[in-house]
Amino acid sequence: MIRFLSIRLLRAVVTVLAVMTFAFVVLRMSGDPAQVLLGPDVPQNVIDDFRAAWGLDRPLAQQYLSYLGQIVSGDFGISMRDRSPAFELVMERLPATLQLTVPALLLQLCIGIPAGIYAALHRDSLIDRGVILLAVAGFTIPSFVLGLVLVLIFAVTFSMLPSGGFGSVWHGILPTITISIGGIGILARFSRSAMIEVMGQPYIRTASAKGVSWRHVISRHALPNAAVPIVTIVGFMVGSLVAGAVVTETIFSWPGIGRLLIVSVSNRDLAVVQCILLMIAAVMVVSNLIVDLLYGWLDPRLRTQPAH
């Protein structure tokens, strides 16, 4: 177990390092931030001063090493735009994003998985077909289209809910729905197929053949086994939530990290973009790690199977 854990942790660290390098390379190689921030008509000596102040005049390798050093010591740099620490700027926006993504994830889990399992247990019924169709529709509607259509219906036509902004519970309803629909569809479809596959296994047939009650077969044999593949996709759901937050926050003028990312990207605010990329990567790496561990815990075969 120790061996598995340490390998998995090493992979996580390497991944984070790779993301850091990626962020550094893309952001530093793509253009001169001094030129972008100060505009085209600034005298050369001002540009030089700016570059010296931000360490942009040093060799790239040196910049990279000092950048790594800073990150390790918890310093994510200072926003070039409003001169405050990037980390603080991001942290200010974090609650708004969590207000959107945490309820959305709960919605996805509480609707998607039961719907999929229900459909699997009533295979080929009218409800099953309805669930499949809705699920496919759910993840084929782009979130930006869904968001705008919701605004058109509930804000523009019926004036029931605000079309954007932040503040009351009412403001959060449309964005939360927008961000969660796709994931509900994916989870429902995936849970359905996982459950159907498990239900076709010989041990389920054996259990029902020997007279175990149907309820017992489902709860003791089918569900635990179907949980294994479902867990693997939840890590993926976290990623799609993060990406969904960028689009959804843009549509609804929601002051979260996603909007900060878009604004910082268009302003070429290096420190903030880096900080956001690293935070997202950290969240993703941790959630993938948890999924892997859960997976190993849920599937006893992984604990005893001989490795090749």
């Binding site: 177990m1 061996r3 992984l302 005893t304 199977q305 490795a307």
Partner: protein, 327 residues
């Protein structure tokens, strides 16, 4: 006659892990095997499943690497695997597999597959290749109209004929057959065995025939080596070995083949399964199942010693070979 194939002290070790985080245990699948095959000769290798005979077959061809010892083919050492020299040598040594269906590409016609070695080794012009394919198909007993068929459209015996034709396309000097008939119906087995014998008589190639089926081996082979847990325990001319087996393991194997007119209760029934190769018994590996084992069999490993002209066996108790009775 100088042997076409010589193997000396071949060793192949697999590593198995017990559980996901368990410790690594080495398994000696092939443990110090030496043998030689002369041109035109058929050597049978028999043993239970897990005895390492298939691994040995792939090592003789240089398909599996040897961790110890060496294989010499035509007097020269086997080139490094997956080098151009190794690939070129494939034209001289070929293999027939146990399951012909999985050995054939199901998306190519059988004529294309028989032709493939000629394409790979750039033998002859396209017209010559086509006529070579036609004559190969004739030689293995396939009809010309089957040339455009796909593997799944043929019967098991016909597929094995395709594999044999493909193996013979470049006129190899050595053919290794790994359980070539065990996946076939009994009625087809004899046809394929007879085909192999006829082909060997007409082409004069050397053959290594790996099988657990003693009747087939006795029928086809000139010499036989018996393997147990990665080692050769007895070797000798087929007739003599089957008529007067020396090693207790061979005796058990031979007596397990029913013979008309002989009562079944004279069989020696081996106790239990072969031991786990990862936990090889000390001393003679066979002592745990041997009906005549003595205390010393637990301690010392018996070497393969010559017991009669052309015969060798690895047992402390074989007359004239065991140090105890010699003293």
């Amino acid at each position: 006659m100088t042997p076409i194939l010589e193997a000396r002290d071949l060793v192949r070790i697999y590593e198995t892990r017990e559980g996901l985080f368990g410790k690594v245990t080495p398994v000696r699948a092939v443990d110090g095997v030496s043998l030689a095959v002369s041109p035109g000769e058929t050597l049978g290798i028999v043993g239970e499943s897990g005895s390492g005979k298939s691994t040995l077959g792939r090592m003789l061809l240089g398909v599996d690497p040897a961790q110890g010892g060496e294989v010499r083919f035509g007097g020269a050492p086997m080139p490094e695997r997956r080098t151009p020299a190794w690939r070129a040598l494939r034209a001289r040594m070929q293999m027939v597999f146990q399951d012909p269906l999985s050995a054939l590409d199901r998306r190519l016609t059988i004529a294309d597959q028989i032709r493939e070695p000629l394409d790979i080794h750039r033998v002859g012009t396209p017209e010559e290749r086509a006529s070579r394919v036609a004559s190969l198909m004739r030689n293995v007993g396939l009809r010309p109209d089957q040339a455009g068929r796909y593997p799944h459209e043929l019967s098991g015996g016909q597929r094995q004929r395709v594999v044999i034709a493909r193996a013979l396309a470049t006129d190899p000097a050595l053919l290794v057959c790994d359980e070539p008939v065990s996946a076939l119906d009994v009625s087809i087995q004899a046809q394929v065995v007879n085909l192999l014998r006829d082909l060997q008589e007409t082409t004069g190639l050397a053959m290594v025939f790996i099988s657990h089926d003693l009747k087939v081996v006795r029928n086809l082979c000139d010499r036989v080596a018996v393997m147990y847990l990665g080692r050769i325990v007895e070797e000798g001319p087929a007739e003599a070995l089957f008529a007067r087996p020396q090693h207790p393991y061979t005796q058990a194997l031979v007596s397990s083949v029913p013979v008309p007119g002989r009562p079944l209760d004279s069989r020696i029934i081996l106790q239990g399964e072969p031991p786990n190769p990862a936990a090889r018994p000390s001393g003679c590996a066979f002592h745990s199942r041997c009906p005549v084992a003595e205390p010393m069999c637990r301690g010392a490993v018996p070497g393969l010693r010559v017991t009669a002209p052309g015969r060798a066996s690895a047992c402390h108790l074989v007359a004239g070979a065991a140090p105890a009775s010699a003293a």
